[in-house]
């Protein structure tokens, strides 16, 4: 009995050590660079095999909607972009927590590169929403709850990027933007809730875990687009993070070696 307990303890200890080591290895720019180098082809494959067929399926082959005709097809871009926009902010805030708590270099690289990418997806979501709103609601812009909270999310991205751009010292910029993005993520649910409460015109989500009000011919391409957009997001983040790593580490031996093989 005692032996078994000891065994379990050593197992937990080694598991913990393993987690600890893996976690800390992420702090090494070289490890990150090598790892993303291996992951990138797979994510590209995801973009090519999931996103592109999904988009073609949704935009060209899915049946037109009974009420909205073909204009509904913009959801194949709009909905995935909205998901990425919100997840991007969460990633940034999580990277901010890691930056503040463990002072990990790579977390700030991620936080820095996610901001413009997330802001772009937020903008894409707003623009596609406006284009869809024109034939469906009859206006380009409506002060509807979801539109407004998306707009404020866009503002939050802008404020984080503006703060980073204003601070010259990279370490200070890293920690200051980390604090701001954490403040933002605490506030996001409150903003979301208050805006929702303020005005609701947007239709509720069509996809839920339990059943969906979308027809399967429309749902499957939409799911493919959502998954594909996540691959695209991963590719974009990795590509710009790799650039950022090279830029920050250009003095180190491995980058010099990489530059002049």
């Amino acid at each position: 009995m005692q032996q078994r307990v000891n065994q379990a303890e050593t197992k937990t200890a080694t598991l913990w050590q393993w987690i600890n080591n893996t976690f800390h290895r992420f702090g090494s720019p070289k490890y990150f660079y090598d790892l993303t180098g291996k992951l990138l082809p797979w994510c590209w494959a995801g973009v090519l095999l999931v996103l592109i067929p999904g988009l073609i399926w949704g935009l060209a082959f899915a049946p037109p909607d009974y009420y909205q005709g073909n204009s509904y097809r913009i959801i194949f871009i709009h909905v995935p972009a909205a998901g990425i926009a919100m997840m991007g902010y969460a990633v940034m805030a999580f990277a901010g927590i890691v930056t503040l708590v463990w002072r990990m270099k790579m977390a700030d690289v991620i936080a820095k590169v996610v901001a413009p990418i997330g802001a772009s997806f937020t903008f894409l979501c707003l623009v596609t929403g406006a284009i869809w709103g024109r034939p469906t609601w009859g206006t380009w812009w409506e002060w509807d709850a979801r539109l407004t909270s998306m707009l404020i999310l866009f503002f939050l991205y802008v404020s984080v990027m503006a703060l980073r751009a204003a601070i010259e010292h990279p370490d200070v910029a890293a920690r200051a933007t980390a604090v701001l993005s954490i403040v933002g993520i605490v506030n996001l649910p409150i903003i979301r809730y208050s805006v929702n409460w303020w005005n609701t015109l947007h239709q509720p989500s069509s996809i839920r875990l339990t059943g969906s009000s979308l027809a399967p011919e429309m749902l499957y391409p939409l799911l493919a687009c959502i998954v594909g957009f996540y691959f695209l997001f991963a590719v974009l983040v990795m590509l710009s993070a790799r650039n950022e790593v090279l830029l920050r580490e250009y003095r180190s031996a491995w980058v010099k070696k990489w530059l002049k093989p």
Partner: protein
């Protein structure tokens, strides 16, 4: 330049420190005294508020009904901008003369001194607004009940605004062109306060019950008072060490 906490003599160890309330009181008194020697700080936000509000009738026309309808929004946006502009300089002076560094390196909790500073600032910059708001609200044809609720919403809402913009001010205190940045940081975070406060005043003028709105504002105030000082203290520590 910063003093490491570990290098403090044993005399200053936590056990022998004066109670937190004493530090809080001392800092509050100091800031209020400084403000009383510099009375313009008390007057400027009020005049700014007054001027912004009086621009609206000039911009959208003197129609009484339209003004009464838009009064809650106008008054609140003016109050919000006034708080924002006043908070920009919240930590500037203390940063420039090194007080902030001393405060941060003291073994006392920075949560307490941050709260004291923001409270002092609210008393100086926002309380006068509350006193003048009824006068200005009458000029926009807001009715009696609306004015009462406006005061309640300002009393609950402006401390939240001060705390939020103090976060922005703490992160940008070391920067030369900070003021625009504070606005960019704070304005999106103001949204919930604006929505519930204006909602309360509008409901009051329509004769509805405002308990829900006021309750939400109070809840947000509690949340801001408990969480924002951590962010402000973290922001100051980052800015001062830079």
């Amino acid at each position: 330049m910063t003093i490491k906490r570990a290098s403090l003599p044993p005399l200053l160890e936590a056990a022998s420190l004066p109670p937190l309330s004493q530090g809080f009181g001392a800092l509050l008194r100091r800031d209020l005294l400084l403000a009383s020697r510099q009375r313009s700080d008390l007057i400027y936000p009020v005049f700014f508020f007054f001027m912004v509000v009086s621009l609206f009738p000039l911009g959208i026309g003197p129609d009484g009904k339209l003004l009464a309808k838009t009064a809650p929004g106008i008054l609140w946006i003016a109050a919000l901008l006034s708080t924002l502009l006043a908070t920009d300089s919240l930590f500037r002076q203390d940063y420039d003369d090194g007080t902030l560094e001393i405060l941060l390196s003291s073994p006392q909790s920075s949560f307490v001194f941050v709260t004291a500073k923001v409270l002092a600032h609210w008393l100086v910059a926002s309380l006068p607004l509350l006193l003048f708001a009824p006068l200005i609200a009458v000029m926009l044809h807001l009715d009696g009940r609306g004015i009462g609720i406006l005061l309640a919403s300002l009393a609950l809402g402006t401390p939240i605004l001060s705390l939020i913009s103090a976060i922005g001010a703490s992160l940008t205190v070391g920067l030369r062109r900070g003021s625009m940045l504070v606005a960019l940081i704070a304005l999106p975070l103001y949204v919930p306060v604006l929505i519930f406060a204006v909602g309360a005043v509008e409901t009051a003028t329509l004769g509805g019950s405002v308990a829900g709105h006021i309750g939400y504002l109070a809840a947000m105030l509690v949340l801001a008072v408990t969480l924002a000082p951590f962010a402000i203290a973290a922001g100051l520590a980052i800015s001062v060490k830079a």
